[in-house]
Amino acid sequence: MGLILREKAEYLGTFRWMEVFLMETLARWVPTTPEMEVKVLMGRHIWDSAQHADALGKRTFELRAPLHYTLTPLPPYLDLMKELAAVEDTPGRIQVVYDVLLPAFTARYQEYLKGSDSLLDEPSYRVIHEIVNAYDRMRQENEALREQLKETLAFDARLAEEWRRKEAAIAEIVPRGTGATLAAGTHA
């Protein structure tokens, strides 16, 4: 990938959008999901995604972009995220977050690390490693919940597979060349 400094800020700004999207999606789903245990899981993970967005937003500032610089992903990815955020049933929502988004975001983060430099960009590596480790914990907590609710919730594995396939089919998500260091910061 071989990213230049400005492009690194653009990637991290887009990752920040993804974390804010996750936080807001979970926040919208908490009052509209009936199962108490699911509300509790989502409520706890709202705080995880907020911390991830915060760490990424501070790192963008260190890369000469605005503090909490946030870039909306390219339209095909944005459309897919909107489609996933519109899911209404509880099993579908759980699958969207834990079977689709967290593994997909992990792959995007790992792709970024491949194109960066672990010495020169070490602070980004640390932020991303923290995020990916937290994702592992979040998914384990999700597995424990599914075990607990296995009598009441039925999951459709084919649906999750279809969403994963759609996500993976979108190669480019970062609006590159937008000039992060020149752009005004956007609130998220």
Partner: protein, 264 residues
């Protein structure tokens, strides 16, 4: 349509429609539908207290989450506080549910009410929602929790007392950040003062109307609040000024304790 924009009518008052609940729960629309007990610390009454508290914490989680959903342009540091609050309230629900099950209870064992959600989400500004939920309801819960853990200890239930003490510590932080942010937001836009005052008046009028149909409950609530007192020490931790605390003491009929330290 956002769930906070949906409406229901209770005794002629328009309120925010209930958040989603499992079918096992019976949602009460006023106090008279809730279970009450002559012996407030009987085994069944204890489970009802935990069950009611668990649902109140679920409501607090939902309100904090809905603030994140409804106000995407709020300052990032405030959104971080709301996200943290959502996580704290989630832990409270889980902790109370664990204790409820340990005492032989279960979800849906008693009726529940969503009054805080129904009133708070009628406000269209974040400052007003913080004033109602965090600064009023949660601050009131600080008063309650400051006394309740002693009641549980007095009947030998150290485990529940511990749960309540941990919840109280978290609630102080929620009230404190709300107090600080309301001040900041009002300083930046004085028009918000009117929004906050209108929200408080709406809460007061709604309370009065709903309790008017149930004078016994109104009288009982007043007596209970007077007996519990005002948690002055924790209100100071939560950044209430001495003037504000004095006003709360006066409203609670405790003028003689004004400016006194500790629990009144």
């Amino acid at each position: 349509m956002s769930i906070s924009a949906r409406r229901k009518t209770v005794q002629g008052i328009q309120l925010c429609a209930d958040p989603a609940r499992e079918a096992c729960f019976h949602i009460a629309q006023n106090d008279s539908e809730m279970r009450t007990f002559d012996d407030a610390m009987s085994e069944t009454a204890r489970r009802e207290r935990l069950h009611r508290h668990m649902n109140n914490e679920m409501g607090a989680l939902e309100i904090a989450a809905q603030c994140l959903a409804d106000f995407p342009d709020a300052p990032w540091d405030l959104r971080m506080q709301l996200a943290r609050q959502a996580s704290d309230e989630s832990r409270h629900v889980a902790g109370l549910y664990r204790r409820l099950r340990q005492l032989g209870g279960h979800k849906g064992e008693f009726p529940i009410g969503n009054f805080e959600w129904a009133v708070t989400n009628m406000c269209d500004t974040l400052a007003a929602r913080l004033a109602i939920q965090n600064r009023t309801f949660e601050a009131g819960q600080m008063d309650l929790l400051g006394a309740l853990h002693k009641f549980w200890r007095s009947v030998g239930d150290e485990t529940t007392a511990e749960v309540l003490e941990h919840i109280l510590a978290d609630e102080i932080n929620h009230v404190r950040f709300a107090n600080r942010w309301i001040r900041t937001m009002v300083q930046e836009d004085r028009r918000l003062l009117l929004k906050v005052a209108t929200a408080i008046r709406f809460l007061s009028e709604t309370n009065a109307t709903l309790l008017a149909g149930n004078p016994a409950a109104a009288s009982d609530n007043t007596k209970k609040h007077a007996a519990l007192g005002v948690n002055v020490e924790d209100r100071r931790h939560a950044d209430f000024s001495d003037d504000e605390i004095n006003e709360i003491l006066k409203q609670a009929g405790m003028s003689t304790f004004v400016a006194a330290k500790g629990r009144a």
